[in-house]
Amino acid sequence: MTDFRQDKAIYLQMYEGACDDILSGRYGPGDRIPSVRELSERLEVNTNTVVRAYDQLVRRGIVHTRRGMGYFVSEQARELILADRRREFMDERLPELFRQMRLLGISMETVEEQWKGRSGK
């Protein structure tokens, strides 16, 4: 199935977008994120798509709701997101990278050199 490039479903893109915002510090712990309606208007997307994205954020514990007040970033949001992304990197990105390396005949040593050389910057 490697020869099948897919776009992520929109609600997943929104989920990732919200995670990006939290990681970048745009929304800190305890901050209120836009309401479902606000976001659906801003991005011109159906409200139930936003609801799916937000439901996933809530399920992962990244965001929680306060009755009648909206959605708020959890204290552990940052750690949770980093943990998720690290897992994704290890389970998906790295194997893909290794596959490419084998296909192109690039050795681990070459990669390490690049890593050392570029880390300085």
């Binding site: 897919q6 479903a9 659906s40 011109e44 139930n48 798509t49």
Partner: protein, 269 residues
């Protein structure tokens, strides 16, 4: 909640336009009505508005048959035709004459929409608005009436790109949870992300109706170098745009035009 129950419609000369159509238009949902030119989208919308009567079957809105044209039903159904005239009267006059019939009319919503579209509330003559301006005004007016069922036939005709975006924004901003919208369009990118459900009227008159979420779960879309075991495929720059049955639980975003073409070809349902 609007229901179509086994609806048939034909013209006199034995040409079936709508063939045994059944669908439910749920509250809080936005339906994109797609179909080729001349297939009968306007006819379907007019049937739902109660302007035409089904030859067989019935259409209910809130439990009442729309063909009865009861006051309570008419207050909850608004229809924007693809082509309409506006006469030489002031915007204010038009609004004051027509809004009195709708109990949920909201002046605030109308003002907000007109403001965002850049239409002067004191416009002395509606006739002088451009094609796009007329559509913008009519959409703003209908949105402000707060009707539970909004039927829009090509509402984006003549609207420039920024206005199309504003249309989507205003719809998202003002649509209540108990309102439903059916928007018919040729340009799928106009409604791609705001619709929750797709309705496709095929050439043979049959109606397909499905939720976008459901379709994204059942099918997956991607770009592949081969079209093998694809339900439906189209050539593209990277090889093929491919629609497959969804084997894993991973959802991808499926472009509306792929869904549309697959439905038309009979691949879906």
């Amino acid at each position: 909640m609007t229901e179509l129950k086994d609806v048939w419609y034909w013209y006199e000369y034995g040409q079936t336009v709508i063939r045994d159509a059944s669908a439910a238009v749920g509250e809080g949902r936005i339906y994109g009505l797609l179909g080729l030119n001349g297939v009968g989208k306007s006819t379907l919308l007019k049937l739902m508005a109660g302007l035409l009567f089904p030859k067989k079957g019935e259409i209910l809105c809130g439990g009442e048959n729309v063909a009865d044209r009861k006051v309570e039903t008419l207050q909850e159904v608004v229809f924007m035709p693809a082509e309409f005239e506006l006469r030489n009267e002031s915007l204010e006059k038009f609004v004051s004459l027509n809004s009195v019939f709708y109990p949920r009319f909201s002046r605030a919503v109308l003002d907000d929409c007109l403001g965002e579209f850049g239409i002067d509330p004191q416009t002395p003559s509606l006739e002088q608005l451009s094609l796009g301006g007329r559509h913008k005004f009519m959409f703003s007016f209908l949105l402000s009436l707060g009707a539970r069922l909004m039927l829009l036939d090509e509402p984006l005709n003549g609207m420039d790109l920024p206005s199309r975006g504003m249309f989507r924004k205003l719809l998202m901003r003002h649509l209540r949870n108990d309102q439903s919208v059916v928007v018919s369009t040729h340009v799928m990118s106009d409604v791609d992300r705001i619709v929750s459900d797709l309705m496709v009227l095929r050439n043979d008159g049959t109606l397909f109706c499905g939720s976008v979420d459901e379709l994204s779960r059942r099918y997956s879309y991607g770009i592949s170098s081969s079209a093998e075991d694809a339900l439906y495929a189209e050539s593209c720059a990277g090889g093929y745009r491919v629609l497959r049955r969804n084997e894993d639980a991973c959802e991808s975003g499926i472009p509306t035009d792929m869904l549309f073409n697959a439905v038309i070809k009979g691949v879906i349902e």
